[in-house]
């Protein structure tokens, strides 16, 4: 069971009520994209699921309540997380960054190096000296090393050069074939390519759930995402 169910999730940070009763369902073995303009609470939602932002409400992972559970225990249940700003350990080498993420008895380095062969040539390099794209590869690789039941990926192509966006997108498409994934992403082409469901958030709430075809057909969705052609 790798489905994820979020019900009435509230998060308040420094007095600001960021998430105001978020509800959605991430089905098993499908890719769900969490969309919305900047500042609507997408990253906060992922952090709340990971236990990094304390929240109230219900989050059930495979039927188990995980709200208020320590982050490391949530991860050990099989949630892999790729944070928005990569958050690689700059002073550690690529090899050390990956070694730190090992949880399984046999971490899947074969998959990681087949998706990101460049990392294999940079194992001894300090992660802080890598380019943004290479750092993103390390961040994604950390989540792919273990057999996670679900991957939470926050803006994986943010700030990357077009060539690297393609490389990261291809890797995610490969992983998406056999994973449950909740992805926050602004790149709608990537979303259309890999997602089977979309969830749109606005002002701390879910305002739309449906299929990716709505990204081009639904004027309300387009307006919520700030895509040209949406109604005002």
């Amino acid at each position: 069971m790798s489905s994820l169910e979020v019900k009435d999730l509230h998060v308040t940070i420094n007095g600001s009520h960021i998430l105001q009763g978020v509800n959605f369902f991430v089905p098993e073995n499908k890719v769900t994209a969490l969309l919305g303009r900047n500042g609507v609470g997408k990253s906060t939602t992922l952090k709340a699921i990971m236990g990094l932002n304390p929240g109230t409400g219900t989050i059930k992972f495979g039927g188990t309540e995980i709200v208020a559970m320590p982050t490391h225990k949530i991860v050990q249940m099989g949630l892999g997380y790729v944070p928005e700003d990569r958050e690689i350990f700059a002073s550690l080498t690529v090899k050390e960054n990956l070694a730190l993420a090992e949880r399984d008895e046999k971490p899947n380095y074969e998959l990681v190096y087949s998706l990101f062969p460049e990392l294999l040539t940079r194992t001894g390099q300090r992660a802080g000296t890598l380019s943004g794209g290479q750092q993103q590869m390390v961040a994604i690789a950390r989540a792919l090393l273990n057999k996670n039941k679900i991957l939470l990926i926050d803006e994986p192509t943010k700030g990357l050069a077009p060539k690297l966006v393609t490389e990261v997108a291809n890797a995610l498409a490969h992983v998406a074939d056999h994973s449950t994934m909740l992805i926050v992403e602004q790149n709608l082409a990537l979303v259309k390519a890999i997602a089977q469901n979309i969830i749109v958030m606005d002002q701390g709430k879910v305002v739309f759930e449906g299929g990716p075809e709505n990204l081009q057909d639904d004027s309300f969705v387009k307006s919520m995402l700030g895509v040209s052609g949406g109604h005002k």
Partner: protein, 293 residues
């Protein structure tokens, strides 16, 4: 030349003692964000344990009994640090001000208890006779204890760096110093690292306490406080969370202090404060600081 060498090696010896106090402080703050004002108590407890071993357990001082005193002092202080972390600090997770206040309380209680038990007068810690000797290097006659401080600190520095570099817990500590929440987001229980860091820091301070007792000609319940201030200065100058930074800063401060005091007696402390201010103004993260939280 002989004076220069004498002051240099004395400064390095003093720096070595500063390092023993500061290394644990630096790791504890770097990983957990805890300003540990009880670190001086670790030092004092280590010193009193060393005194007990050297006077009650092995009353005839030899090299081996002194080594036993250092190890016992280190282990006792390490266990006390671990106990404090488990019983007090762990319950105040992420409440940094409360943690700092409670460490002040632990420090005061430890000092009062030791004072009530042993009195506040300094007690002489017996050492092997060869500790009183001096060696001649060139024209310089240098007391041999300076080399002991430097040697013990070097061994502990290498041991700490090896743990940090070659063990999994060391990897977790290094990563945790940089970004603790991301370490937990990789499925690692970072509290294990907290306990390890407290024990290592307490051990180093305890060994330092025994050596400082030799340097200061006595063990006293009040000894922790004054050395703790220098420990904090070394940590700030070296950079929070960096053992290597602490080592460099400790040597810099020890040597500068000694040279300043030689040329203008009493100027040493002032120069140390100038170094602290200069680092804070030009490189607030310290010489090798890594902490991001």
């Amino acid at each position: 030349m002989s004076t220069f060498l004498l002051i240099l090696i004395t400064g390095l010896g003093l720096g070595a003692l500063y390092f023993l106090v500061a290394s644990g402080l630096s790791l504890i703050y770097g990983l957990m964000g805890v300003l540990n004002f009880a670190h001086g108590a670790f030092l004092t407890i280590g010193a009193f344990t060393g005194l007990w071993v050297s006077t009650k357990v092995f009353p005839n001082p030899t090299t081996w009994t002194f080594i036993a005193a250092m190890i016992a002092g280190g282990i006792t202080a390490g266990l006390f640090a671990l106990l404090m972390e488990q019983l007090v600090i762990n319950r105040l997770y992420n409440r940094h001000i409360d943690q700092a206040l409670v460490t002040v309380g632990v420090s005061l209680v430890a000092t009062a208890l030791l004072g009530g038990w042993f009195g506040f007068d300094a007690r002489f810690l017996p050492t092997p006779l060869w500790f009183m000797k001096a060696v001649t290097i060139g024209d310089a006659i240098i007391p041999i204890d300076r080399f002991i401080y430097i040697g013990v600190s070097a061994i502990l520095l290498i041991a700490m760096l090896s743990i940090l570099k070659f063990t999994r817990i060391g990897l977790i500590i290094r990563a945790g110093v940089e970004n603790r929440s991301m370490v937990t987001a990789l499925g690692i229980n970072v509290r294990m690292a907290f306990s390890t860091v407290f024990f290592i820091g307490g051990f180093a301070a305890g060994v330092g306490g025994v050596l400082i007792s030799v340097f200061s000609y006595g063990v006293s319940p009040l000894m922790g406080g004054s050395w703790l201030i220098y420990g904090f200065i070394v940590v700030v100058v070296g950079g929070m969370g960096s053992v290597a930074g602490s080592a460099i800063a400790a040597m810099l401060i020890g040597v500068t202090n000694q040279f300043a005091n030689y040329y203008v007696p009493g100027l040493g402390d002032f120069v140390v404060v100038i170094i602290l201010a200069a680092v804070l103004l030009t490189k607030p993260s310290g010489l090798l600081g890594k902490v991001s939280h």
